[in-house]
Symmetry: C2
Subunit: 188 residues, 2 copies
Amino acid sequence: MGALKYAILGLLYQKNMTGYELTKEFETTLLQSWRAKHSQVYPELKSLTEKGLIQYEVKIAGNVLEKKEYSITEEGKNEFLQWAVKLNPIKPIPKDEFRLQLFFSSCIKPEERLLLLENQFTNHHNRLLELRKAIKKFSSIPPDDETEFGDYLVLLGAIMNEENTCKWLKKCITMCQEKMGIEVAAEN
Amino acid sequence: MGALKYAILGLLYQKNMTGYELTKEFETTLLQSWRAKHSQVYPELKSLTEKGLIQYEVKIAGNVLEKKEYSITEEGKNEFLQWAVKLNPIKPIPKDEFRLQLFFSSCIKPEERLLLLENQFTNHHNRLLELRKAIKKFSSIPPDDETEFGDYLVLLGAIMNEENTCKWLKKCITMCQEKMGIEVAAEN
DNA sequence: CTACTCATGTAAATAGTTACATGATTTG
DNA sequence: CAAATCATGTAACTATTTACATGAGTAG
């Protein structure tokens, strides 16, 4: 997909960081837009360094521990800014194993389907509560020229998304219960 | 992720099909839940055949053209039904290059950000219209014991999702315009 | 006879995950 | 001094995409 490259360049555009710190960013602030494990980050840093888009300085922490502090080069900044304004076509609807399960759910008992839906609802609702907690760090909408503004918009999107997913799942649950109710009623 | 296997087993559980027809399903009905190209389908069919989960019969179309019509075995049905009722934890929020771009958008001019948002809105709105057209094939909610029911629920989810995405993008656009308006007003 | 769709594969490259491997520093 | 966290890497595997490769059937 090639976006890992720009995620790293973007983070280094904001601030010099080590591979470890970059990985932390992927686990926290970038969680709603991109993810990468350290095993993907380190090789990518190597490759970007070879291409001259970033560079590093070795820093000693404590007595011996070597840290590589990466910074973005002018060339790196150029490539990043080019990507940052590029109009991209929208991506196909992301793959989702649960939706696949639901798609095929006529193969299983209605009660089983209900269990699947309720499990999803609980999980998504919990995530929603966590996201709502996370957005509290913004007491008001940040100014549009600060790094926090993008963070805020993406987090808002994630919250609206989870709210909508919960709404959909509730609707599915209601529809399933109505169908089951009708069947039970017809049997009596 | 391993879900390709179950997508194929699920389709063959419904109906015998060739690799070509399976690929078509991924491009049409399964578009909202899972996708795979023919170059992934054919090797997977080979592997599933070797594992004894599916089998095939060679059919001749026209004079010479050989088609392999695949069917699911009893063993395959068992594995599929086991997966079909399994409670899975929810997946991490999917990666999205646009959200990454928006996250870093404090690096670009407010007008550029607005262009990015408006482009996304147009594209998502078009997709929404297409999905609304697609759901018209259901004149009413299908019975919960027919294959169409899962299809309907997933399609409904896709529509609600696009509606919500459009709502979020509109909100972002309004917020950006307000910020820009305030700046312009402050300058005068 | 031409263009489009049907039909099946392989090869090469990229992307991503999980596991392996090691060692230093800090906090309780 | 033990446990958690900081810190950096590689190896093996799985998943996915794009391109290569070929040929038959059908409709205009």
